[in-house]
Amino acid sequence: MAHPPAKDRCVARGVTKAYGNNPILRGIDLQIPEGSFAVLVGPSGCGKSTLLRAVAGLETVDGGTITLGDRDVTALPPRDRDVAMVFQSYALYPHLTVRDNLAFGLELRKTPKDIIAARVAEASTMLGLDPLLERLPKQLSGGQRQRVAMGRAVVRRAQLYLFDEPLSNLDAALRAEVRVEIRKLHERIGATTLYVTHDQVEAMTLADTLWVLHGGKVAQSGPPLDVYERPNSLFVAGFLGSPKINLLPGTLAFQGNRWSANERASEPGNYQFRVDEDRFAAGLQEGRSVTIGVRPQDVAVAHGDDPVFGQLTVDLVEALGSEGLAHGDLGGTPFVARLDAEEARTVKPKSRVPLTVKAHRVHLFDPSTEKAL
């Protein structure tokens, strides 16, 4: 985010777009530094695909500008923007062989034949498409099609590579595999990439910069771990992380030199969290209502002198092998906690389990603005 504008390969400024009276993009600002991998993520309808298509030139925008390299491309058609795109449906030309699919874009640009051949060969080797070159798309499996779609982008040497949920049509195992391939590919050719997904695992693992979109606006952006660890709003906190973050009502209190957030702390079965005073210093006021966010992964069963923030009344334990999830109730609010494999075996439903959490893993939000304190 601290990149000087000159180094940004793609910049969107104040982009707006509406379909009739229905605003889709409400002033998006976006920068993608040269050679970096940006991921647009958000729930369906947040405008991420529209933004991608606007960058590609497949949608016109109502306001704002889009710059690629040092050119303002806002009014240019897709072919003059020098972008390559991988579609969710792959959009392979059904009447062309894999080889011709790969070469299509280069041929349109009247690239010399020998260069086409070299680029196609290079891409096909890189993606393991060599044995498939003479086949038609309908003779390929889903994964193979996906690789052809990527190959078609790779041969292009475009300024910017766009991916529109490219993995959503693959099964889980293949998805993980291709995800890694995409990242490797990116590192190898150093392509500036804008990638749209609704899958947060993809978003987290692939992104250099994560852009969370919500309601046609950028909700938060930054390196993925930063966003994950310091969500700036209830929405971002809730959107990233699986299982979802636990949200509890609470009140700020200053007790014994410490700030805490609690709910009827004196009553049994309720909770009291220590607060990261450095992070939230500006928002700490005695008696202020807050929403407390705690990720299931960040809590643990308290042992020894671990500070206990509350007792979870367990309803159900999900054992996932390497770990487990305890679903239960904390002070009248549903709550999920991660357990390690051993605990998943021993914790029984109806039991009460003491839980602990590190103070810097406790997120506080203003219940009315839904922003982080």
């Binding site: 058609p77 897709p78 072919r79 390559a84 959009a91 299509f104 874009g105 349109l108 766009l162």
Partner: protein, 287 residues
């Protein structure tokens, strides 16, 4: 890759074949009468018959129709066959060439007047042709296209175009927009995307549309007889129809001719069977 064959209960199998056999009989029976008539010598006694089979099979009717019974007749027939082929193929070509871009725009692009255009097009199908024949003649006269194959092609193409547009519009709507967008991102203009991606993908539908246009031109005789005034320029349906006179008709030759005239259409049908089925997938007409 093929899915495992589902096991079909015997009664379903028998049932389907019964239905199909009955329908086929229904479809073929009247045609058998035409065939029987075509192979009959004149003079067979009229009998109440159920099985269509000529009493004395002969090829005379066919010989007469193709002009083998008199000198120069066969050459004339071949010329007229050529006319029919040229006119019908050209009609198919012109109809498809004109209808395809228009149906692409109607299927894909927003434009002012689109609804009105579609309604008008559908409305033209509702107007009985009885009213427009004479104005059409006058129009062709002004264009100096009377008695020219090109004029006939124009007339046929215009009757074929509205249907072709509906047909192709439906087909193009089923082609994923992604393909064109991919092409445009790959560096194609919209027109290049249309030519290099949409057209190939719509090929089955285009083939079927062409077949319809071909058929409508191939079988038509009233306009052809009205517009053409040279024997060597006649198309086969005119020749066929000339065996039905004011007082007496030569039904044997008429039937033989009908079979010969239908044969190319049947062959085309057979060839494009598969496309026929997928091509009509979305014969989409929205009023």
């Amino acid at each position: 890759m093929s899915p495992p064959k589902e096991r079909v209960p015997l009664w379903v199998s028998i049932g389907s074949h019964t239905v199909l056999a009955a329908a086929t009989l229904f479809a073929v029976y009247p045609v058998l009468w035409v065939i029987s008539l075509a192979f009959s010598a004149g003079g067979d006694a009229p009998e109440p018959r159920v099985v269509p089979f000529p009493a004395h099979p002969t090829l005379e009717n066919f010989k007469q129709f193709v002009g083998l019974d008199h000198a120069g007749g066969f050459a004339l027939f071949l010329g007229q066959l050529g006319n029919s082929l040229i006119v019908s193929l050209a009609t198919a070509l012109v109809a498809v060439v004109i209808a395809t871009p228009a149906s692409y725009a109607l299927a894909r692009l927003p434009f002012f007047g689109k609804e009105g255009a579609l309604r008008t097009l559908f409305a033209t199908q509702m107007f009985p042709a009885v009213a427009s024949a004479v104005p059409l003649y006058v129009l062709l006269e002004h264009l100096h296209l009377l008695d020219a194959r090109s004029g006939l092609v124009l007339v046929y193409a215009t009757t074929a175009i509205p249907f072709a547009i509906f047909q192709l519009k439906g087909a193009i709507e089923t082609i994923p927009v992604d393909l064109e967008e991919a092409a445009m991102v790959d560096g194609a203009t919209r027109f290049q995307a249309f030519v290099k991606v949409v057209l190939p993908a719509a090929r089955p539908a285009i083939a079927v549309t062409a077949l319809f246009a071909f058929m409508s031109a191939w079988n038509e005789f009233i306009l052809a007889a009205t517009l053409l005034s040279r024997k060597s320029a006649f198309t086969l349906p005119i020749v066929l129809q000339s065996y039905v006179g004011e007082h007496l008709a030569n039904w044997g030759v008429f039937a033989a001719g009908a079979l010969l005239v239908s044969a190319p259409v049947m062959i085309l049908f057979y060839i494009v069977q598969r496309q026929l089925i997928s091509g009509l997938t979305a014969g989409g007409v929205k009023g």
